[in-house]
Amino acid sequence: MFLSGLVGWALWWSEVDLGALLSSGPRFAEFFSRLVPPDWSATRLVVHSTIETLMIAIAGTALAVVVALPLGFLAASNVSPPWVSQPMRWLLGMLRSIPLIIVALLCVSAVGLGPFPGMLAIAFHSVGMLSKFFAEEFETADEGILAAVRGTGATWGQTLRYGLFPQSVPQVVAFSVYRLEMNFRDAAVLGLVGAGGIGYYIQLYVRGFQYEKVAVLLLVIIVVVTLLDQLSFWVRRWVR
């Protein structure tokens, strides 16, 4: 009851207009019809910028994983005292709540245009989610194993390295690859704010009504996303 009211209010707020949607048919149709034939002259440029986007995603994800692992340890309540893990969780929640586009704009104004601010923004934005996932995974670790490793006289660091981490490796890898997939799609729009990659051409071609080139863009993105999906499947099967 309350829920349907809320959804209705949300639809009204979003100015849902069925008439506009129905009458938009021809325009969508026109858009799709103009996608063919693709203009392959753009291929070189598109592939190059797609690789740049992919590299932004890979570098950003790698940096994020390196930062998120220690933060994840600190946020895990089974290996860190509550006066560390609790504030850590609040901090990570704050990181997660900042939209990527704002982070990207800040990074561009801080370090200038190009792929570098894009990578920074991707890394910053991923840390919040990855740390939370890692911390939750660490908290499922077998307490008996931790006690056994600690009981050999191991330090806190050694207990994490040899007791906690080996238990969590498969999930840490799975989350990281999943985040890489997400980061590629996120990085694809970063070019809109001048942070490098394919996004610049998306807005250039769409706004310029060069739909034949947009078709090439879409094809390349679909291919890369599919490949990433396969990759993450293989990696997860490989790391058990």
């Binding site: 008996g144 194993i145 056994a148 006289g153 390295r161 080996p166 490796v169 498969p170």
Partner: protein
């Protein structure tokens, strides 16, 4: 029938010292020991029904639990010391073999065994997976000693229960501790395997002349390997002495007594709980509730 093994004779040097121990869970008195003294090289088997306080005793000695009142000393040091450096130093001296094996299943046998030396290698280098060559060699030797030579590279999760058991022994031996605690170490194995495994453990431990404390259910098996038997019932000491002197009446006391005494036991628990609560305002006294 006792196992003949070479090794230094038991000395009078005190390894484990407990005094005036009360361990209270909620209002139940899990352990009530006036004093218990265990010397170097002794092989003490602790008998008792489940719930008799065996596990609580080994957790006290390992320092995983602080007594509600009383004093625990291993090698003269509090095993549950609050200062982390001191605690690590004493933890190294006490190896624990748990009922569940608590190995890291994804890691290789030799990695799990090498965990035993974490307390004595460089904490920073070991974070990058580096162990001294001497430790690798030691790990190989220990694996050979427990009959797992050639299996070092195998993942623990691919081993059988009996083999995992021996990996746990190897990890404990690798630690080169002065006291080895084993809480129902062979209860996961079937009876014949269990006795063989226990024999292996006792042999390896005796070769090193290390103090051994084993919690066990079966008095007959314990008598075969022990140099001293301790019987617990309802958290209290009902037998402490030579295994030869452990009679059927003693066994009766250890294994049957708990039923007859349950009403008296509740009364006693309440009395102790009250007196402890009265003292609980004292800042040094903390009631342990797990």
């Amino acid at each position: 029938m006792s196992v003949i093994v070479d090794g230094p004779a038991p000395s009078q040097e005190s390894m484990v010292h407990l005094e005036c121990i009360h361990v209270l869970f909620d209002r139940t008195l899990a352990l009530d020991l006036e004093s218990l003294e265990i010397g170097a090289g002794e092989r003490v088997f602790i008998l008792g029904h489940s719930g008799s306080g065996k596990t609580t005793l080994s957790r006290l000695i390992k320092g995983r639990l602080r007594p509600s009142t009383g004093e625990v000393r291993v090698l003269g040091v509090d095993p549950a010391a609050r200062e982390s450096g001191a605690r690590r130093a004493i933890q190294r001296r006490i190896a624990m073999i748990d009922q569940e094996f608590h190995l890291v299943p994804r890691l290789s046998v030799v990695s799990n065994v090498l965990h035993g030396c974490l307390g004595r290698v460089s904490p920073w280098k070991s974070l990058f997976g580096w162990y001294p060559v001497a430790e690798w060699e030691k790990a190989e030797e220990v694996l050979e000693e427990v009959g797992l030579e050639g299996l070092g590279h195998r993942r623990v999760e691919t081993l059988s229960g009996g083999q995992r058991q021996r990996v746990v022994f190897a990890r404990a031996l690798m630690q080169e501790a002065d006291v080895i605690l084993a809480d129902e170490p062979v209860s996961a194995l079937d009876p014949e395997l269990a006795e063989d495994a226990l024999e292996l453990l006792v042999e390896c431990v005796s070769r090193r002349g290390v103090t051994l404390l084993v919690n066990l259910h079966q008095p007959e098996v314990a008598k075969r390997f022990a140099s001293r038997l301790v019987g617990l019932a309802n958290g209290g000491l009902v037998y402490d002495g030579h295994p030869e002197g452990f009679t059927d009446e003693d066994a009766e006391l250890v294994y049957r007594g708990y039923r007859r005494d349950s009403a008296r036991r509740r009364k006693r628990d309440d009395r102790v709980a009250k007196s402890l609560e009265a003292k609980a305002s004292h800042p040094d006294l903390r009631l342990v509730v797990p």
